[in-house]
């Protein structure tokens, strides 16, 4: 399985974990982001996720390389979904396989924070009576 993906289809959490499973690793830390069903405006019907796909992939591969180097990981996989998603659905997953758990926890945190800061992906929340780009709150 490709270690970095941006895709419309849902992913198998098990397959993402298995893609980084390695006998050199003593722990795999996963972060799973899901679509939240409400915000201050009320109940969200759906979320539209848009990407600048070519650049997002380059940025994610670069983040993965930095995480592997800086946190001395055995392996890492990153998957981000795009398209129309419903509350509760998977949106992003990071699996970090470390020799020891500390680095794996830190690496997963580093990557999700950097995704939110740098990777060209945007979320639009759709309500029954309005829609709202999440970026506008920054």
């Amino acid at each position: 399985m490709e270690k970095v993906r941006v895709m419309e289809e849902d992913f198998s959490i098990q397959k993402v974990v298995d893609s980084v499973r390695d006998p050199r690793s003593g722990g795999i830390v996963t972060f799973l982001g899901t679509v939240r069903g409400e915000d201050i405006r009320g109940r969200i019907d759906a979320m539209e996720v848009e990407s600048y796909r070519e650049m997002a992939l380059e940025q994610l591969w670069d983040l993965r390389s930095r995480a592997l180097d800086e946190y001395d990981l055995v392996d890492m996989a990153i998957v981000h979904r795009v398209g129309r998603l419903s509350p509760g659905e998977n949106i992003v997953m990071i699996a970090a396989a470390g020799v020891h758990r500390e680095n794996a926890f830190a690496a997963a945190r580093f990557v999700i924070d950097e995704i939110k800061r740098l990777v060209p992906i945007w979320k639009k929340e759709l309500f029954s009576d309005q829609e709202h780009w999440v970026e506008e709150e920054k």
Partner: protein, 78 residues
């Protein structure tokens, strides 16, 4: 020279299109192009992120034929 300009998310909606090809004189730098775009779409200014050939722009590089420039709002993935 021809430059491909792409817009994403709310900027795509403001521009009313995903991309536009612009004809610019040789020697134009990135900031020359972005100021033209900000004049056309003032609502983008102040919070635009700029990518040049699919990487965040650093400095003010000379543009060349076939380059791709993208303008988009702060990202919100994850």
């Amino acid at each position: 020279m021809r430059i491909r300009v792409r817009f994403f998310a709310s900027f795509r909606e403001m521009a009313g299109r995903e991309e536009v090809e612009m004809e610019l004189p040789p020697g134009t730098r990135l900031e020359g192009l972005t100021s033209l775009l900000m004049e056309e779409y003032p609502e983008m200014s102040g919070r635009a992120m700029v990518a040049h050939n699919r990487a965040y722009a650093s400095g003010n590089p000379l543009l060349k034929e076939g380059d791709e420039v993208a303008l988009f709002p702060p990202v919100s993935g994850g």
